[in-house]
């Protein structure tokens, strides 16, 4: 299908884009990579009055070391994140997740900001943002604000972004060298959205698990942090038995719903299996 008619604006700065967005009202839409918005336009699920194309704002494409966090510009493409040596060194969980998004051609075009703003419940970057407790920096005319991932994602495809706001960059807490991490997903076909995905980091001290960050997508409308579920099992010896115990606890705590083609119990099965796998791999990496 072909999209409905829209006007096209091509700002050359973020300021200009924000002005155009404010002037366009709530029927104007920004487009970055267009890998999610494009299909919605073509199928007429979205019919904006105007597209404001952010692709010339190359100053928003970067990965910067901010010490305890990595700051990544909203227009950074998935492939840049997947291939970034800085991401690999400081936040490998993010790089590993980026490599699994869609397909090669999709990753050349899709952007970090676009993925977060779109907020598909099964998408990789929202899950990583939630797991690590990233902060999303949002620009509006004459100001900006920082919103933690836990407040940014509100429901499936719904975020805290106001109609006149644009994501400027995302601050991801880094992973220290003694932490192990793993990203696991299950889908029916390579490159599809995950049915369930799990992101995990673990830190050990004297062979005991002292710190865990565990995130899960596919069992609720937004990705969820499972840190509270894991807390009672902290301080135990790092082992496959521990990983299995955590996986069972998470399975018992999540409440997915039946939907067309995929039952809730199947999502629970996948959750247990993937949490166990992710924790085992993260433990192996943490033991180095």
């Amino acid at each position: 299908m072909k999209p409905a008619a829209f006007d096209y604006l091509r700002p050359s700065s973020l300021e200009e884009a924000l002005q155009q967005l404010a002037a366009g009202g709530d029927r104007a839409k920004v487009i970055a990579g267009g890998q999610s918005l494009g299909p919605m336009l073509n199928m007429r699920l979205a019919m904006p009055s105007a597209l404001i194309d952010l692709n010339d704002l190359t100053e928003l494409a970067y990965v910067r070391d901010g010490g305890a966090f990595l700051s990544i510009g909203a227009l950074t493409r998935h492939e840049q994140i997947a291939g970034s040596a800085l991401v690999q060194a400081r936040c490998p969980l993010l790089g590993q997740a980026a490599k699994t998004i869609g397909h090669y051609a999709i990753r050349q075009r899709g952007t970090l900001g676009g993925s977060l703003a779109h907020a598909d419940p099964a998408a990789q970057f929202p899950l990583i943002a939630m797991t690590l407790g990233a902060e999303i920096e949002i620009a509006r005319q004459g100001g900006s604000r920082r919103v933690p991932a836990s407040a940014f994602f509100q429901s499936a495809m719904a975020t805290a972004l106001a109609p006149d706001e644009i994501i400027r960059c995302v601050h991801f807490p880094t992973i220290s060298v003694n932490e192990g991490m793993s990203f696991q997903l299950f889908n029916r076909r390579h490159g599809d959205y995950a049915i369930v995905a799990v992101a995990a980091t673990v830190a050990l001290q004297d062979e005991r698990v002292v710190h865990v960050r565990l995130g899960l997508s596919g069992v609720s409308a937004i990705p969820q942090s499972c840190d509270a579920m894991v807390r009672p099992l902290l301080g135990q010896l790092a082992s496959a038995v521990w990983a299995a115990d955590v996986a069972r606890a998470v399975r018992a705590a999540v409440t997915p719903e039946d939907d067309a083609g995929i039952t809730a119990v199947y999502r629970k099965e996948l959750t247990e299996k993937l949490v166990q796998q992710a924790l085992e791999r993260a433990l192996t990496r943490a033991k180095g």
Binding site: M1, K2, P3, A4, A5, F6, D7, Y8, R10, G34, Q35, G38, P39, L41, N42, M43, S49, L51, D53, N55, G102, H103, Y104, A105, I106, Q108, R109, R189, H190, G191
Partner: protein, 167 residues
Amino acid sequence: MRHVEKRLITLTVNGENHELRVEPRKLLADALREDCRLTGTHVGCEHGVCGACTVLVDGKPVRSCLTYAIQMEGHEVATIESVASNGVLSPLQQALHEVHGLQCGFCTPGIVMTFEAFLKSNPAPSEEEIRDVLSGNLCRCTGYQNIVKAIQMAAVQMRRNADHVAA
């Protein structure tokens, strides 16, 4: 339905400038086929899944059904028509021909464009990497095995050609 004026744009395709009058909603794929008369780019699903319409934008593979022609002003688009030179197939095209890497040919332009770019950035990929990248292009005839074989053959040939040039 709202009316939006057509806009005059310059589209650079395979090194040539095309002056086009298009609505902003015109897909790059449709502009290439209908306005530039370059029908080698095939349109399959129109929502980014099948990969048939893949072209290169500034050297990178892009779904031409998920980009609008008007967005491409100031960028270089390359289509399947640019791959063979003076009737001589590229190593990848030649390999696909030799090992039966295509049957109906509908998906082939997208596969060729994807791997012309991929093999430049990764001249010696593993079979797993090839299959990962190929997962973005649907083929309903071949079963993929011979496409993988052709890409492996092409990679070897392209490395030889590069060595030859370097020597």
